[in-house]
């Protein structure tokens, strides 16, 4: 998993819960005498450990923390990579760019990155839906990102998630339905 996810997570923890909590989460979740850099690649299990430690520290459910992290991640990306939002007017158009454009750019920098896949289709009701498939159980993170995207564009949409076959969190269908 790309290091930027780890650095953004720890920045979120530090900003929301303080430096001491962030230090304890990192010390227990990743007991190594080193930190993370955004250009590095780390085992995704480390992120899970960090989230679990944060949940212990704060008493908040893991799912809520990951959803919140997803939102944070979207805002961070939109701040750091504003070009990706240029000319895009709604969340559906943006989400359709994730697979082809954003993941394409990531692959240029990190050819070995293992990225989740998104496939798009109209739902039986005629709405937009996207299928998430990943080797890692981060459907909650994807849900947080999608929610933040809808919020960012101010679209009147609900994101309804259905978990599909496979390891929990690795395969899900997100339907964007009008409110």
């Amino acid at each position: 998993m790309k290091g930027v996810v780890f650095t953004e997570f720890l920045e979120l923890v530090e900003s929301k819960f303080g430096m001491d909590v962030a230090d304890r989460v990192q010390t227990k979740g990743f007991p190594e005498d080193t930190g993370f850099t955004s250009v590095g690649t780390y085992d995704h299990q480390i992120l899970i450990s960090l989230v679990v430690e944060l949940s212990r520290e704060t008493g908040l459910p893991v799912r809520d923390l990951v959803l919140a992290f997803g939102k944070h991640l979207f805002h961070s990306f939109s701040r750091n990579f504003p070009d990706t939002l240029v000319g895009v007017n709604n969340s559906v158009d943006f989400l359709q760019k994730v697979e082809g454009v954003i993941h394409g750019e990531v692959q240029k920098l990190y050819p070995d990155a293992e990225l989740p896949s998104f496939s798009f289709s109209p739902s039986p009701e005629g709405h937009f839906q996207m299928e998430y498939i990943s080797a890692r159980p981060f459907a909650d993170l994807a849900e947080g990102l999608i929610g933040a995207t809808i919020e960012h564009f101010g679209d009147e949409l609900n994101c309804l998630r259905t978990d599909l076959d496979g390891t929990p969190g690795t395969h899900a269908l997100f339907k964007l339905c009008p409110k």
Binding site: M19, T37, S38, V39, K108, L109
Partner: protein, 463 residues
């Protein structure tokens, strides 16, 4: 300077946070820089990949052109050392890969007028040759055979040295076609001339024939009158006052040798009729053989065509061989170009005559012309008891310009023309031969060579 002992051992939280913030920002800047450099590296790599691909495509295209060019391409250095030969050049010169090692361009394109053939200087790199536009020379195949070739050389610079690329073209086929065209034009002229002559002769020979026949029947009447007059003469002998007249008539009969005339004149008339009949037959054969202006397929009676061809070629064979024909009765008509097929038959007959002339034995040889039908085809066999074809040259007798005949006797095109004409009729021209005993050529023709479903113009269908 301040002693280290003077530095406070405790650091405030604010100081630590400032230090941490600076370090974090520095790390982020380093990460952004790294990403930017990575992006540039990616773009450079992509550009390089494109350039490499474009270069590879160019190399591939050049290679394909070099490998598939119909003309031979030879790259060589200033001394004529061959560096690269394309497949077409290998085909033209019959070279293997091994032959191309240490090959000099002078070996395969020798200059017959080269004053110094062993010179290490390659004539083809001479500016005079490079500038010239008449590049027809003689090429030499690995097997030793020579052929007319066109060789055009260009100079270029490669890796800092001068090199040369030569394009070689085998002109054998072009020369053959040019010569065939010239021959066809000659034949066409001769055909037209023959047809014209035949037409001009036909009319007078007809009235000569008719008048001779009239003379023959008239002479029969005169014979009867002569017989009656003879009886009258015998009666007049006994009448004294007519004796002087009888004597004069008898003297005139004796002077004219009337009995001889009466017996010989019918024979002369018959011989004249036979002669005019022969002339008429030759005229008809000439007309049939030449087929002037016939350029379309038509149904043809090959037996009749062969008869005509034997007639017009009689002067070629009558002192060399006796001809025996064995024509299949009711032979179906064959769809063909009669003028071209007659040319094939004539060439094969003349070839047979030459083969017989090449024998050591004396006396007339024998040419047999046979026709037969096999399934959907007709086969014409033309046999001779001549020299036969040596095994060593059997594979080359249909090659253009190949001949074993002496200078001025054979052009080496007769059998090639036969082969091409028969092939163009979708037929086969094959031969059986035994050296020293003779040869039989088999002309195998489809009854209708046209592809099924096509509608070629048929002229004179019921001719």
């Amino acid at each position: 300077m301040v002693d280290s002992e003077d530095i406070p051992t405790t650091i405030s939280r604010e100081t630590l946070e400032r230090v941490l913030r600076r370090e974090r920002n520095a790390r982020k800047q380093a990460e952004q820089l790294l990403e930017e450099k990575s992006r540039q590296l990616y773009q450079t790599n992509q550009d390089l990949l494109k350039s490499t691909q474009a270069l590879a495509d160019e190399v591939q295209r050049s290679k394909v052109i070099f490998e598939t060019a119909a003309e031979g391409i030879i790259l060589f250095d200033q001394q004529g050392h061959v560096e690269l030969v394309n497949p077409a050049a290998k085909r033209i010169f019959e070279l293997t890969d091994d032959d191309c090692v240490k090959l000099n361009v002078n070996d395969i394109l020798p200059l017959t007028d080269n004053k110094n053939p062993t010179s290490s200087i390659c004539f083809y790199t001479d500016p005079l040759f490079l500038m010239g536009d008449d590049h027809e020379i003689v090429g030499r195949r690995k097997t030793g055979g020579e052929f007319p070739a066109e060789f055009v050389v260009a100079e270029f610079s490669h890796n800092g040295r001068v090199a040369y690329s030569g394009v070689v073209r085998d002109l054998t086929r072009r020369r053959f076609l040019e010569s065939r065209l010239a021959q066809a034009e000659r034949l066409e002229s001769v055909g037209q001339l023959a047809a014209g002559v035949a037409h001009e002769i036909n009319t007078p020979i007809q009235f000569v024939s008719e008048n001779t026949r009239f003379l023959k029947t008239s002479f029969q009447s005169l014979l009867e009158i002569f017989s009656t007059m003879n009886q009258l003469l015998e009666k007049c002998v006994d009448i004294p006052e007519l004796n002087p007249w009888v004597s004069r008539v008898q003297a005139a009969i004796e002077v004219a040798d009337l009995p001889f005339l009466l017996s010989e004149i019918p024979l002369s008339i018959d011989q004249t009729l036979e002669g005019t009949s022969t002339v008429a037959r030759i005229v008809r054969a000439l007309n049939v053989f030449s087929h002037p202006g016939t350029t379309e397929f038509q149904k043809v009676d090959l037996n009749s065509e062969l008869e005509s061809t034997l007639t017009v070629s009689k002067n070629e064979w009558k002192y060399v061989a006796e001809v025996e024909t064995d024509f299949a009765p009711n032979l179906p008509r064959v769809m063909c170009l009669p003028g071209e097929m007659n040319q094939v038959f004539l060439n094969l007959i003349i070839n047979a005559v030459h083969a017989i002339q090449g024998r050591k034995s004396e006396g007339l040889g024998k040419i047999t012309v046979r026709t037969r039908r096999e399934s959907d085809r007709v086969i014409v066999d033309i046999s001779d008891n001549g020299t036969g074809i040596p095994e060593a040259i059997r594979g080359r007798i249909f090659d253009p310009f190949f001949t074993t005949k002496g200078v001025g006797k054979g052009t080496g095109q007769g059998l090639t023309i036969c082969y091409n004409v028969v092939e163009s009729h979708r037929g086969k021209l094959t031969f059986d031969t035994i050296e020293g005993e003779g040869t039989t050529f088999h002309v195998e023709l489809l009854l209708d060579p046209r592809p099924k479903g096509t509608a070629m113009t048929e002229v004179n269908e019921e001719k």
